[in-house]
């Protein structure tokens, strides 16, 4: 990534960062929902896959921007962190935990309602992969996304 692009990401205003985080969080569930809905229709399977990938693309781009924005401040291995960075990292982790709690409670509640309504849930590899992918993609990304969500706009250089 060029320096210009990098600094442009660093100086993204919070409102735009928050929109990107929203896209990153909502994009994958929307893409999976679209895939499930279209899979049972008459559409060509390649077209379904194209729609899925098209919906997934902004999510991946937003995730990449989120990671780039946090850049070492979550892992903290390459960058020397000062007290503000460390405080921000703690806040990002705390917010990630809260978001995760809300998502898990909502998912559990929806599953419980679905099951108590007389439905059955078949847990096989096909049904489980979206969940597995969500865990693999979002669990590591959440703190970086939350950091991008909470940090105030960067002050102009001076």
């Amino acid at each position: 990534m060029s320096t210009t692009t990098t600094s442009r990401i660093d100086y993204l205003p919070r409102s735009r960062r928050r929109r990107l985080v929203a896209v990153a969080l909502a994009g994958y569930p929307v893409a999976v929902a679209a895939l499930v809905a279209l899979k049972h229709g008459d559409l060509n399977r390649w077209l379904v896959l194209a729609v899925f990938l098209l919906l997934l693309l902004p999510t991946l781009a937003a995730l990449a921007v989120g990671y780039r924005y946090a850049r070492g401040r979550i892992g903290g291995r390459r960058v020397r962190l000062d007290e503000r960075d460390l405080s921000l990292r703690q806040q990002a982790y705390a917010l990630s935990h809260q978001v995760l709690v809300v998502i898990l409670i909502a998912a559990t509640a929806i599953t419980e309602i679905f099951l108590t309504s007389g439905n059955t849930l078949r847990l096989d590899a096909v049904n489980f992969w979206p969940v597995a992918m969500w865990v693999i993609v979002y669990l590591p990304a959440l703190p970086a996304l939350m950091l991008a969500w909470i940090e105030a706009d960067r002050p102009a250089d001076g």
Binding site: R80, E83, R154, D157
Partner: protein
């Protein structure tokens, strides 16, 4: 800075300008990232007591001359303020 946190006002930008220091130079002396200086100046981040004391030490000023819980008046106004009438 968390919304619930009380804002700490400061004169960092004025003092830095007075001494002709850039954010980067000041940050290097303090051992922090230069952007943290910007966040402190803008009131978006309240420094730790340790950092505030280090800043005061660096500028050789009492900490209350740099940081305050109340909005700060211009330094010139404080220096040339007339003493209360009962003290004259």
């Amino acid at each position: 800075m968390a919304d619930s946190q009380r804002r700490v006002h400061n004169r960092l930008a004025v003092l830095r300008a007075e001494r002709g220091l850039s954010r980067k130079q000041l940050a290097d002396k303090l051992g922090i990232n230069y952007q943290t200086i910007g966040y402190i100046e803008r009131g978006d981040y309240n420094p730790s007591l340790e950092l505030a004391l280090t800043i005061a030490e660096l500028f050789r000023l009492p900490i209350e001359a740099i940081f305050s819980l109340k909005p700060m008046t211009p330094l010139s106004e404080e220096i040339f303020r007339e003493p209360p009438t009962e003290l004259r």
